[in-house]
């Protein structure tokens, strides 16, 4: 009996949600081939860089950091989608989360590796990478970063894996290939009220634990910049500003992933309009928060009026970086706000368009943070500029394609929507929610003496 036949007689959830595991279309292979080719090209570009040094980039003095560091901040930011959103929704008992948590958690785990590798690509001596462990200096914010990203990767992998165990056990019991994989990953789990209760308890603890870890990650990334005395980097609000930006771009990335999954795997019944509407509201909230932080950051720099700060400030607002800066403002505030504040445009198409702009705008945000400050050191240098080389751009393209590729492949081995949580929602949540709502209502007050 083939895997396809095995699914035919199953209930709707299993039939639809496990279908990608057993059936692969021609388009999947075409996309996979294209993405693999781009990734391989990026690997070739990196090999060239290793061979001849960072001279193949467009970097110079004082533009010591460029595309790699921008992408580092950007991709780690995207990784905030999953774990944080999923954990917050779980803790707050948001029932609409059930269909989206798994796809979100997968983004986190898969993209974080692509983000974490960026500073390694940026190293002049990648052969000495282990020195960070052998000779680590705890005073360096870079070391804090290694610790927090390592912890975040571990915690979010566990947080992805543990809630997946019942689904893996189900797949194992159905006998879908590769059987050894599901047998191994299901670690002998047998579904029973007792094991389910234990699992729920572990998930609850994990969900609480991953939130401060996730917040720490982007805070520490911001501190890499903020701990220096550079104009418009040395800012106390950089930590929370980066966290807000990270969650913002993370939500946008999740919306895009949902829109694509919905289309290619025919998941319209699961990723419903209500999900896009609710995610769109979160996008709206984050766009306002981001704008508030950006305004606060730029106003204080301008009002303080320190010479070095102003040089960087004006280079962004009216100088050579005016185009990326105002594009960023349009992409991160004007467009998403205009689209997300109306219910009519909070559908699949509207949220997707807004999300494309947000992802693009948040990349630009990191660009306008890293590059203008680098090019405006406190002591005037000969005028210089930064044009990324083809090597840097190829590696950036490869990072994008590599991430999409592994995400695609992951959807072929793991159900991208949690089966047991949907089932639990059908069986128990309706009753639980009505009980919960009933508990909010005023108690009956007995009149004394009657």
């Amino acid at each position: 009996m083939s895997d396809v036949d095995r699914l035919a007689g199953l209930p709707q959830d299993q039939r639809i949600l496990l279908a990608p595991l057993v059936r692969t279309t021609k388009w999947f292979w075409i996309w996979a081939a294209v993405l693999a080719a781009v990734t391989a090209w990026g690997a070739f570009a990196y090999a060239l860089q290793v061979q001849s040094g960072l001279g193949v980039t467009g970097l110079n003095t004082p533009e010591y950091w460029g595309i790699y560091i921008i992408c580092f901040v950007f991709f780690i930011g995207i990784s905030h989608a999953g774990t944080l959103i999923s954990a917050i929704l779980r803790i707050s008992n948001a029932e609409w989360r059930r269909a989206i948590t798994r796809s979100a958690e997968f983004i986190t785990v898969l993209v974080i590796a692509f983000g974490a590798v960026q500073p390694v690509l940026d190293l002049g001596r990648p052969d000495r990478l282990l020195f960070i462990i052998l000779h680590g200096q705890p005073w360096s914010p870079l070391l804090w970063d290694v610790c927090s990203i390592g912890l975040y990767f571990t915690a979010s992998s566990v947080y992805l894996y543990v809630p997946m165990i019942p689904d893996l056990a189900l797949i194992r019991d159905l006998g879908i290939r590769p059987r050894w994989l599901y047998w191994f990953l299901a670690i002998g789990y047998q579904d029973s009220p007792r094991t389910r209760r234990m699992l729920q308890r572990i998930i609850a603890v994990l969900a609480v634990a991953v939130i401060p870890i996730a917040v720490s990650v982007h805070t520490v990334i911001a501190w890499i910049f903020a701990m220096t005395l550079r104009p418009m980097w040395h800012s106390t609000i950089f930590g929370p500003y980066f966290v807000v930006g990270a969650i913002y771009s993370g939500i946008a990335a999740l919306i895009l992933a949902m829109a694509i999954l919905r289309r290619v795997y025919r998941l319209e019944a699961y990723f419903k309009l209500v999900h896009f509407n609710n995610m769109g509201l979160m996008l709206l909230l984050m766009s306002l928060l981001w704008t508030y932080f950006t305004f606060a950051e730029y106003l204080t720099a301008w009002y303080g009026g320190e010479e070095a700060e102003l040089a960087t400030f004006w280079s962004k607002l009216t100088g050579p970086f005016a185009v990326p800066f105002w594009l960023m403002v349009a992409s991160c505030f004007v467009i998403p706000f205009a689209l997300m504040c109306r219910k009519a445009t909070r559908g699949v198409r509207g949220t997707s368009i807004a999300s494309v702009f947000v992802v693009f705008g948040m990349w630009l945000e990191r660009y306008t943070i890293v590059v203008p400050t680098s090019l405006h050191p406190r002591i005037e240098m000969a005028s210089t500029h930064y044009v990324p080389s083809w090597v840097e751009l190829s590696i950036m393209a490869a990072t994008f394609s590599g991430f999409i590729l592994v995400y695609m492949v992951a959807t072929k081995f793991f159900p991208i929507i949690s089966l047991w949580e949907i089932q639990e929602g059908r069986e128990e949540a309706v009753r639980e929610v009505s009980e919960r709502v009933a508990s909010y209502l005023p108690d009956e007050v007995r009149v004394a003496g009657s």
């Binding site: 001849s52 040094g53 960072l54 001279g55 970097l59 110079n60 003095t61 004082p62 533009e63 010591y64 950091w65 500073p119 940026d122 190293l123 002049g124 001596r125 000495r128 990478l129 020195f131 960070i132 000779h135 680590g136 200096q137 005073w139 360096s140 914010p141 870079l142 070391l143 290694v146 890499i224 701990m227 220096t228 005395l229 550079r230 680098s374 050191p377 406190r378 002591i379 005037e380 240098m381 000969a382 210089t384």
Partner: protein, 227 residues
């Protein structure tokens, strides 16, 4: 314990750049060529920064020789993840080329932009190879380098003093830039030793340090122009 420092009298500096040349040959600083210069990728441990003031015919050029400031509170050493740059007990901020992983965090943290990165494998023309200074290691591709106050000269002077069984004298240890300066604009010595000229010069009312307000406490002082 000495605290090595430098005083540069801007009244005396005529912008001849002899310090740059002396530094380059003393420390085996590679000449990167016009292509690297066009990309702002040259390496120099000592650079005479020029500033043109006024409009023709009332034009004046000011010169500011700029080595590493050897800050008492260096922003670069704290951020290095592997301890490849550190300040020693005599106040010299050193670079350990064999330890550096090339992340360029120190270069970004330095408010004076005195750190240079080896973007490409250094290339010494064959004719210059016999002239390389054997006391100073050449640097590989992918690491940061900068002025070390000619630290190797201190080691040599110490050895010499030990051999001759005498304490280190004021003139025993002088970096190449100070030694070569034709107008004696650059003075070097122990800031804590009242017998050294630098200790007297830093008390001059003309003395100032670059970006003093940042609190990095540089040990390179300047004497401002009196004209």
């Amino acid at each position: 314990m000495p605290r090595w420092g430098m005083v540069i009298d801007l009244d005396r500096c005529n912008g001849c750049q002899a310090c740059e040349v002396a530094c380059r040959s003393e420390n085996n600083v590679p000449v990167c060529g016009p292509n690297a210069a066009a990309l702002n990728r040259t390496i120099s441990w000592m650079r005479v920064v020029t500033e043109v003031e006024g409009e023709w015919p009332e034009v004046r050029t000011r010169f500011l020789p700029r080595p590493c400031m050897h800050c008492e509170r260096p922003p670069c050493t704290a951020v290095c993840p592997v301890g490849a740059t550190a300040i020693d007990e005599e106040g010299i901020v050193g670079q350990i080329y064999a330890r550096c992983i090339g992340c360029r965090y120190c270069a970004n943290a330095c408010p004076y932009t005195v750190k240079s990165f080896n973007w490409r494998r250094p290339d010494y023309p064959a004719s210059t190879l016999p002239m390389l200074n054997p006391d100073v290691s050449t640097r590989p591709v992918g690491v940061i380098e900068k002025c070390t106050f000619c630290h190797h000269r201190l080691q040599r002077a110490r050895e010499q003093a030990r051999v001759e069984n005498r304490p280190l004298r004021e003139d025993d240890y002088v970096p190449a830039c100070a030694e070569v300066c034709p107008t004696s604009a650059i003075v070097f010595g122990d800031l804590d030793n009242p017998n050294h000229r630098v200790a007297q010069l830093v008390k001059d009312p003309r003395a100032f340090r670059l970006l003093e307000a940042l609190g990095t406490q540089p040990k390179v002082y300047y004497l401002t122009e009196s004209r």
